[in-house]
């Protein structure tokens, strides 16, 4: 290594060190520490802090509440991501040819995405009001959406789809705009029907974006917290209690820091698996490009 290269490395370290040290303290450190915490019984109220090994995980393995929360998390994630992708793709296709009021269209669309999750929770709490909620009034029903064990999870999914679909739509729309019109002209010359054009021109070009968005959204759905915590609080009867809500309750309502951390570790592991898939896809796409 030449003196010049050594100098550059030293300078580079000076530039990155403050950020890297801050990140180490705020993300990497806590990410490792939570594993250690999950191996301990830590009840600050009683001054208890002792090593228990894998006891929390052993308990979780047979804990019906944990398995119920896992099921809710998976159903919530699969249902809301699937609906978002379908709807988002539809909106993107509808917007592609838009010439009038594009900015207004995007503003109306992105509004739902940009609002705080707590606001979304409050909006839907009011929409689902049994007597005066717009949903019941429009449908002419008298359902207790958030109080009925069968309806609460679908109601929650709907609120999440409303909030996050614009993200999917925006990504698909942006990709659609980059498809050269010549491709469609060629397809038209070949006599391709509308459906065939979509199937053989649009969809293959959109597939990489859809895949990335799918992983991005799965990651977010797995760690979602604010919407369900405020909208349903995990109820009724635990029907909407996700792993994040269960973890939060354990951490800060029953103040079992070790046990709650163990659930946090489970969420962490799930999210990191999806993130790993995301990074692999990005690498493959960069290699292909």
């Amino acid at each position: 290594m030449t003196a010049r290269e050594r100098g550059e490395r030293r300078a580079a370290l000076g530039f990155v060190a403050p950020a890297v040290l801050t990140l180490a303290a705020l993300t990497a450190g806590p990410a490792l520490w939570v594993f250690w915490l999950s191996l301990r019984q830590r009840l600050p109220v009683f001054g208890i802090d002792r090593f228990t090994g894998l006891a929390h995980y052993a308990f979780l393995a047979t804990d019906p509440r944990f398995w119920s929360a896992t099921r809710v998390t998976v159903v919530f994630t699969v249902a809301s991501v699937a609906l978002e992708l379908l709807l988002g793709l539809g909106i993107a296709l509808a917007l592609r040819g838009q010439r009038v009021g594009r900015r207004s269209a995007l503003a109306l669309l992105l509004l739902a995405w940009a609002l705080p999750g707590v606001v979304t929770a409050r909006l839907f709490e009011w929409l689902y009001h049994p007597a005066a909620g717009l949903v019941n009034v429009v449908l002419g029903l008298g359902l207790n959406w958030l109080g009925d064990p069968c309806l609460a999870l679908p109601a929650l999914v709907l609120a999440d789809v409303w909030r996050t679909m614009p993200f999917v739509a925006l990504f698909c729309y942006a990709r659609l705009l980059t498809i050269p019109p010549a491709l469609y002209e060629a397809a038209a010359v070949d006599g391709a029907e509308r459906l065939a054009t979509f199937r053989f021109v649009t969809l293959p070009l959109l597939a990489p974006v859809l895949l990335v968005t799918l992983l991005f959204r799965t990651l977010d759905a797995l760690r979602a917290f604010d919407l369900m915590y405020v909208l349903t609080g995990g109820g009724p009867a635990g029907m909407t209690e996700t792993l994040t809500v269960y973890a939060y309750r354990s951490l800060f309502q029953t103040l079992r820091l070790g046990f709650g951390s163990a659930i946090g570790v489970v969420v962490f592991t799930l999210v990191m698996l999806v993130a790993a898939a995301y990074v692999m896809v990005l690498h493959r796409q960069e290699a292909a490009a």
Partner: protein, 272 residues
């Protein structure tokens, strides 16, 4: 492609107005007289009232919370950019030791679930005596804002032509000077987008704010809205007014700063 008729464009716009109805309904509710709230239809109020906003401004924690959120959001953005921009500059233009692993770690940490890091951070904040302060929230929010800033700014800075920094070096400019005179001006639009998103994320953040705050001294808007009190019955009109106030920055961003918002969002996941 064939140009589609105007009527289709208008129909799409109408659908999107319908899509915004959950928000618009809350907007209507916030101006509705108390006595008409639970009697729908009719959907529209007989007269408009500012009573709910009056209650929120004079008898709730919202005014204080709005100040806290603005302060925490601005400071988080400032901290993340101050630390993140130089790091991004080095990662994009200099030979940083273990740059690949570092970048992977930075991208990965944007994905860390807050529910997993909240318990260690809680213990840190308690140990440092930072609970219920702005500092706790700024630090906690930096845990997602900073990796986000580094990630996106590295991308933007990579696009600055090498010849420009080489020319600057020939003119005797040091690295900080090159960053300030060449890279910052050329990536300014990108930085604006990134800063905007960092602010928006901090404004919307709930889990950390809910955990690390205890009183009105530091409670942010989402926390105040989640805890909005109702004595005997739920004050739907007041909650609606508070929700609308909590939505002001996001609405302004979506309408007024849309170009920057979209640029930042797309840079996050597309490889174009």
């Amino acid at each position: 492609m064939r140009r589609r008729p105007l009527i289709v464009d208008l129909a799409v716009l109408a659908c999107l107005v319908l899509y915004a109805v959950p928000f618009l309904w809350q907007l209507v509710t916030s101006f509705k007289p108390e006595s008409e709230l639970l009697h729908v239809p009719p959907l529209l109020p007989s007269r408009l009232t500012l009573a709910h906003y009056g209650v929120v401004f004079t008898r709730s924690a919202m005014p204080r919370a709005l100040g806290n959120s603005l302060g925490v959001g601005a400071l988080t953005t400032l901290l993340a950019c101050a630390l993140g921009v130089p790091a991004a500059y080095a990662l994009a233009t200099l030979r940083v030791p273990a740059a690949g692993a570092l970048m992977l770690g930075i991208v990965a940490s944007t994905a860390f679930p807050q529910i997993a890091t909240v318990s260690p951070l809680y213990l840190v904040m308690r140990a440092l005596g930072l609970r219920d302060t702005w500092a706790a929230l700024v630090l906690a929010d930096a845990s997602f804002a900073l990796p986000f800033v580094i990630w996106l700014m590295t991308r933007f800075m990579r696009e600055v032509p090498r010849e420009l920094s080489e020319a600057a070096a020939l003119d005797g400019a040091g690295r900080w000077r090159t960053l300030a005179a060449i890279h910052l001006p050329l990536t300014a639009p990108g930085l604006a987008s990134v800063a905007l998103l960092a602010f928006l994320f901090a404004w919307n953040e709930f889990l950390f704010a809910f955990t690390f705050t205890a009183t009105e001294a530091s409670r942010t808007v989402p926390v105040a809205l989640a805890l909005f009190p109702g004595v005997f019955e739920v004050p739907w009109g007041d909650i609606a007014a508070a929700s609308i106030l909590a939505s002001v920055p996001p609405v302004l961003i979506v309408i007024g700063l849309q170009r920057w918002l979209v640029r930042g969002l797309l840079a996050g996941a597309l490889n174009e």
